[in-house]
């Protein structure tokens, strides 16, 4: 189908005259591993350091030994302190974040699949124009629509609520996912739908019974990326959520930083680490899908 698997490679037979080369390859391979490991350590070092810092006391964080990420004594009360520090607990923040993410996911799944099916399979007047427009919105910087959207939501009385962050998703505004799904649908053999139409199925039945199940890889990818992007959508949350009780994890972290004036290092790192956990867990469980999902957007 349309998924590129990144794990395959063809095998080759090795002619005799290449055996000595093979030995050289062995050493080269070891060097490669060492370099790769070294670079990998450099890449994740900041994260490891932060996790370590969240378990250290404040003095230990800033002591002479601070480059060493591993704490001498594990201190878990940074997590306890940080959890309740700003008056509202991080529990509320996590709840708010998840609420918004779930809303956005449902919205995207429904609206983007509908639009994608229309673009991919159906013929209607001006289809080309709308399609070009959809692609164009990929290029549009969000800052252009920012102010009027804000004024619009403000006039509706939706500022300081999560509605501006969820409702638009039910209207297919994320062209990235529409495009992704179009690609997948085009990979589905048309014969299936034709057969169903001959049997007298309506368009909607074809959509829900045939297309959607076959679209599931794209739906999963959409879910995952919507979650990540919504979870990290600091800007949108910043301008639409002003009461602390409605804050998301990102806003909670930011206000934590402001209020404590960075004097509470341990708790700050603890909460920072905690805020990365959901996305990281998502990654661990859906690693293959994620990477595949990114790869399928590789267009020529």
């Amino acid at each position: 189908m349309a998924i590129i698997s990144v794990g395959t490679s063809a095998t080759t037979r090795v002619p005799v005259q290449q055996l000595s080369k093979r030995r050289k390859h062995s050493t080269a391979r070891w060097i490669l591993h060492i370099v790769l490991i070294a670079c990998a350590i450099v890449m994740v070092y900041p994260l490891i350091w932060m996790i370590g810092a969240s378990l250290k006391s404040d003095q230990a964080i800033f002591s002479n030994n601070s480059l060493n990420p591993f704490p001498a004594n594990l201190k878990f009360d940074n997590y306890v302190q940080g959890w309740v520090a700003s008056g509202t607990t991080f529990g509320t923040f996590f709840l708010n974040s998840f609420l918004i993410c779930i809303g956005a996911i449902i919205g995207n799944l429904i609206s983007c699949s509908l639009a994608a099916y229309a673009f991919a399979r159906m013929k209607f007047k001006l289809r080309g124009v709308w399609f070009a427009l959809m692609l164009g919105t990929l290029l549009l910087p969000s800052q252009v629509t920012l102010v009027p959207q804000y004024v619009f939501f403000h006039a509706l009385g939706w500022t300081n609520s999560i509605l501006p962050l969820i409702v638009p998703k039910f209207f297919g505004v994320e062209s990235f996912f529409v495009f992704l799904m179009i690609q997948f649908i085009r990979g589905i053999p048309i014969e299936l739908e034709q057969a169903a139409m001959v049997d007298g199925a309506s368009r909607f039945q074809i959509f829900s019974r045939i297309i959607l199940p076959l679209l599931s890889p794209a739906l999963v990818t959409t879910t995952i990326f919507t979650f990540i992007w919504t979870y990290n959508d600091f800007f949108g949350q910043l301008i639409y959520l002003s009461s602390q009780s409605k804050f998301t994890v990102a806003l909670g972290l930011q206000s934590f930083l402001d209020a404590s004036g960075e004097s509470a290092w341990g708790p700050m790192f603890a909460m920072t680490t905690l805020s990365l956990v959901p996305v990281f867990l998502l990654f661990v469980f859906f690693q293959k899908r994620l990477i595949e999902g990114v790869a399928t957007t590789g267009l020529k």
Binding site: S86, G87, H154, G157, T159, N160, S242, S243, Q244, S245, S255, D258, A259, S260, G261, E262, S263
Partner: protein
């Protein structure tokens, strides 16, 4: 977020009184000074619940918001608990947070019709001018809010078009904190209450020269989101009998004053008497200021953070007035004192609140109740009521004792400058910071920064 409003540091809210206010003000100053000298200790004002016609009844759920660091936060929550205990049936929904963005959030909430019932506020003008705040005058007249002994000119300074829309939740002024231990260790004489800028320079010099490398006499007058230089600059103007703005809302000073000011600070920085640019830029708020991180001994900022700042510093702190009398050997009284007492934190109420009587009662409680003030102490500055100040004097930190005497000194010697500030004043504060930074990081010369500031200020003042 641009700190177009940074009230924690130094802000003067100016009412709209004109010349009549001047006379009235100086009269009030004299009387208050007299009263302050002999405030009877046992005469504590108790909350006047049930004052004629405004007795609160029924239950209430009050949304309240404020900004502040942990110290003020804890004390305020305890205050709310106490009030709820004394008035079961009244619940609070508190929101607290940082100063950055607070004003913007308030504007957003109010314009969406979702303003809180009662709140701490820095700049009340946008709301007062559109009728969003509750007018306290009827309540004050009926003594539902008791203001006995309060400094009338301070109250007048925050009136809008003659109406009292906010009350001071703590008296404050622009001051300088200093590290007592460093001064004593180095044998440098402590600053006097009314010292001149030249005294300040000499003191900073003495500290720097007696300290090891890496320690400086004073923090610089600017910082990214911490101290702001615009207010001290305005004090400097006033000490020269120059108003910052004309009646038409345009700038009333020229490049000469700017250059003098910038040159003073540039020389201080180059000589090493104030912190170098990089260290000043590390301050994102007072917890990361040089006095807390142990790099400087003097710190110019608004007095209201006294207890919070002391909580972060290992060494005992002292407080003194901001220097005055530029290039004069004695300080100047009256309006040329430059500084004056104001309230950086005001308390206000929503005109559309469902519980106006409860809100007013709570405000009266917060300002006057002995038990309440024994909890909040001076976490927002000196209490409005001199009687309350006397009452809590045994309970406060040494730095807060300093603070009340500094405030009293200023009240005795200064006359508030009451002039309406244009709406773009906050933007000018940001532009002023930019100018300071450009000079300190040596990205532009003083002349270039000055002319750049003047042209941008003009644009901001006419454009908005």
């Amino acid at each position: 977020m641009s700190d177009s409003f940074n009230n924690e540091m130094t802000q003067k809210v100016r009412g709209d009184l004109g010349r009549r206010g001047f006379l009235f003000g100086s009269l009030a100053i004299g009387t208050t000074a007299l009263l302050a000298g002999c405030s009877p200790s046992g005469n504590v004002v108790t909350p006047s619940a049930g004052a004629s016609g405004f007795a609160p009844t029924g239950n209430a759920d009050l949304a309240i918001s404020w900004w502040g660091a942990t110290d003020r936060d804890t004390k305020t929550r305890a205050l709310l608990e106490l009030y709820s205990k004394k008035n079961p049936g009244v619940k609070f929904t508190p929101t607290s947070g940082a100063l950055t963005g607070y004003q913007q959030k308030m504007v957003t909430e109010f314009s969406a019709g979702a303003g809180k019932d009662v709140f701490q506020v820095a700049d009340a003008r946008p709301f007062a001018s559109t009728g969003q705040f509750l007018d306290f005058d009827p309540y004050i007249q009926a003594k539902a809010i008791n203001l006995t002994g309060a400094n009338q000119s301070t109250l007048d300074a925050m009136k809008y078009k003659g109406k009292q829309y906010t009350l001071p939740w703590g008296l404050a002024a622009g001051v300088m904190f200093y590290d007592k231990k460093v001064f004593n260790d180095l044998g440098v004489p402590l600053p006097k209450p009314a010292w001149t800028w030249d005294d300040y320079r000499q003191t900073a010099k003495a500290i720097t020269e007696a300290s090891p490398k890496g320690f400086y006499g004073s923090a610089d007058i600017w910082a990214p989101t911490g101290t702001q230089a615009w207010a001290p600059f305005q004090s400097f103007l006033l000490s020269r009998a120059i108003q910052p703005y004309t009646d038409g809302g345009q700038l009333n000073f020229s490049s000469n004053e700017l250059k003098e000011w910038f040159t003073f600070w540039d020389d201080m920085r180059k000589a090493g008497y104030v912190t170098p640019a990089q260290i000043t830029a590390e301050e994102t708020s007072f917890p990361t200021s040089p006095i807390v991180t142990g790099k400087a001994a003097i710190y110019p900022i608004n007095s209201s953070i006294a207890s919070s700042l002391q909580g972060l510093c290992k060494n005992p702190l002292g407080m003194t007035t901001e220097p005055t009398g530029w290039k004069s050997t004695t300080y100047l009284k009256g309006t040329q004192f430059g500084q004056y007492v104001n309230a950086s934190m005001q308390i206000g109420a929503n005109a559309k609140t469902k519980y106006p009587n409860w809100v007013v009662n709570f405000i009266d409680f917060a300002l006057n109740d002995p038990d309440a003030n024994k909890i909040t102490l001076m976490s927002r500055g000196v209490p409005l009521s001199p009687a309350v100040t006397e009452l809590i004097r045994p309970l406060i930190l040494p730095i807060e004792v300093d603070m009340s005497s500094v405030i009293a000194f200023i009240q005795a010697n200064a006359v508030p400058n009451v002039v309406t500030m244009p709406v773009a004043d906050g933007q000018l504060a940001t532009l002023f910071q930019q100018a300071h930074q450009a000079i300190a990081f040596e990205k532009s010369t003083i002349d270039v920064a000055t002319s750049s500031f003047l042209s941008q200020a003009k644009t901001a003042l006419t454009g908005s």
